[in-house]
């Protein structure tokens, strides 16, 4: 009995001593890190304190430069029967994993995209948010991101400006540049949830907030009016994405949904001052990634509701328009070598499924051609990953229709060509 007591006391004392020792050790370490005369402490090494912090910070970036030559219509500047170098993208980001469940991330983007950004280009804040995982369990997590977040629209939108993350220089038509501002990011928040099972990984993201639609390209695409003065504004919008991956991305299935609301900011006499737009859209995505072969297909349907557009013939009168646009493509990629990939894509986009060939549209009094209402594109591209950081690719497009070209690069809508070609080269770097 006594020996048992002794043993108990001894264990207790040892435990206490250990605790005291560890506390003093921690305190000493803390003093060492804060006191100015740290060098007097033999045990202290600045690197011991600095390193864990540095390990939690990552800096990454990317840049790409494109070269384009076309027939019929311009892309990224004056490329028609000439050569344009009008597409440049440079991004730099920093992320900091502050705590096990709290992180910060920010990315700046410099972008030159033909006449729509001008030759000097534009700098923007691509994303900036705080990420808090509030609940996690063995198979997943729940969290929120607050700030400016990327929109998880389809397979490619989140990283649309990072050349290496998509197989061809031009993204599929469903992601066309004219509506870039509408989908690129949202100011507000993102709720996210991941759930990993033996049958695959589920990931859900829900973005809520305001888009940044003050982009002339988008406004021109909606109104077709080169004289328009004001800017589009955003009302509360929602975008959600459910992603399911089998075998860590061998098979990917995704469903994206967007409800985007726009208003208009203009002078009192501006004929567009009451313009509002409501866009409801969904996209279905499927992808197979084998060792050599990749197959991708996406289908998107978009219900547009444009209200209070001014009637050009009756001053003061307005009209509403509600086209339903449709985009889809099928794409096959084959890795001839580990670092050499060929891609073939058939891509289709129509502005209004009730007027697929633009016949009704062509009855307009401005003699705007029918082919402003659709685009079909056959793409063949080769991508060479010279090193993990450097990538070079080339592609050819045979295009029928011009619904997706920039009105800034092709201001004369009547003269836009129906059948045309794109030859493109791109060099990209990422780290």
């Amino acid at each position: 009995m006594v020996s048992l007591m002794n043993k108990f006391t001894l264990t207790g004392l040892t435990f206490l001593c250990c605790l005291l020792l560890s506390i003093t050790h921690v305190a000493a370490a803390e003093n060492a890190s804060t006191a100015s005369n740290t060098l007097e402490n033999d045990d202290f090494k600045w690197s011991d304190y600095k390193k864990p912090w540095m390990d939690d910070v990552q800096i990454h970036g990317f840049l790409s430069q494109g070269l384009f030559s076309t027939t019929g219509n311009n892309v990224y500047g004056k490329s028609k029967d000439s050569v344009s170098a009008g597409s440049t993208e440079i991004g730099l980001n920093i992320s900091y994993q502050a705590l096990n469940n709290v992180s910060f991330a920010i990315q700046g983007l410099y972008r030159r995209a033909g006449e729509s950004t001008g030759s000097e280009g534009k700098v923007s804040l691509d994303f900036a948010f705080i990420d808090y995982t509030f609940f996690r369990h063995q198979a997943g997590r729940f969290g929120v991101r607050a700030g400016r977040v990327k929109n998880p629209w389809g397979l490619y939108n989140e990283t649309r400006d990072v050349a290496a993350t998509h197989p061809t220089i031009f993204l599929p038509l469903a992601y066309y540049e004219r509506s870039r501002a509408l989908y690129v990011s949202m100011d507000g928040g993102q709720f996210y949830s991941d759930y990993n099972t033996r049958a695959g990984n589920f990931s859900f993201k829900l973005n809520l907030g305001l888009t940044n639609p003050a982009d002339k390209e988008l406004l021109r695409a909606i109104t077709l009016d080169p004289t328009i003065q004001g800017n589009l504004t955003s009302d509360l919008s929602v975008l959600a994405n459910l992603n399911y991956e089998i075998d860590n991305g061998k098979y990917i299935f995704a469903f994206s949904y967007a409800n985007l609301n726009l208003g208009y900011d203009g002078q009192t006499l501006d004929p567009y001052k009451d313009l509002t737009a409501k866009i409801d859209s969904f996209m279905l995505s499927a992808q197979y990634n084998g060792e050599r072969l990749s197959l991708t297909a996406e289908y998107a349907l978009q219900w547009n509701q444009f209200n209070q557009l001014p009637n050009p013939f009756v001053p003061g009168a307005t009209f509403d328009s509600s086209p339903v646009s449709e985009h889809w493509y099928v794409q096959a990629g084959y890795r001839i070598l580990d670092n050499l990939q060929a891609t073939l894509r058939y891509d289709s986009s129509v502005q209004d499924i009730n007027d697929r060939k633009g016949v009704d549209f062509s009855q307009n009094p401005f003699s705007l051609p029918a082919h402003l209402m659709f685009t079909r594109d056959i793409v063949f591209g080769m991508r060479w990953d010279i090193t993990p950081a450097w990538m070079l690719r080339a592609e050819y497009h045979r295009v029928h229709g011009s619904s997706t070209v920039s009105a800034f690069d092709n201001p004369n809508l009547i003269q836009q060509a129906e059948d045309w070609n794109i030859y493109a080269l791109q060099l990209a770097y990422q780290f």
């Binding site: 990552q58 991330a105 993350t165």
Partner: protein, 148 residues
């Protein structure tokens, strides 16, 4: 006696078959062990690694989906570059994935700010050093022949 036996044609043939069988076995075994790839971790995390492997698929760790050790600490993943032969073999043989699948996942995390990519080192020697120095780290080595 032995030598005469040895020179008996039928025995000779059997022996040759046997020898080549042994050699083949040895070769297969040795080539397996010489080129086997294995996961390594910081010495403090060895028990954690066993638990982790029981609970999760290693592929999900390298795909940055499983982010925490069973004790709640964040896993620090260390890899070799995409074009490194050992990396390619590890991804295919141990994770049953292709390097481009991992790259796609890592790019998404890196360029949307929603996660961090693994740290990349240039050689197995660097890998061993960094894993030994970094608490909660996980990496892989070719435990066979010495490397450049």
């Amino acid at each position: 006696m032995d030598s005469s036996l040895f020179h008996t044609p039928s025995i000779h043939k059997k022996q040759r078959i046997f020898c080549s069988f042994v050699c083949a076995c040895l070769f297969t075994l040795s080539s397996h062990s010489a080129y086997a790839l294995e996961v390594i971790t910081h010495p403090d995390n060895i028990a954690q690694l066993e638990q982790l492997e029981q609970q999760h698929n290693l592929a999900s760790v390298f795909a940055m989906r499983t982010l925490y050790w069973p004790n709640g600490e964040r896993i620090r993943v260390i890899v070799l570059p995409d074009n490194n032969v050992i990396h390619q073999r590890f991804v295919k043989e141990n994770l049953h994935l292709f390097p481009h699948q991992l790259r796609r996942t890592w790019n998404r995390l890196t360029y949307t700010g929603t996660g961090q990519a693994p740290n990349t080192v240039d050689s197995i020697a660097e890998m061993q050093e960094l894993v030994n120095q970094t608490k909660n780290s996980i990496g892989y080595i070719d435990n066979g022949e010495p490397h450049e």
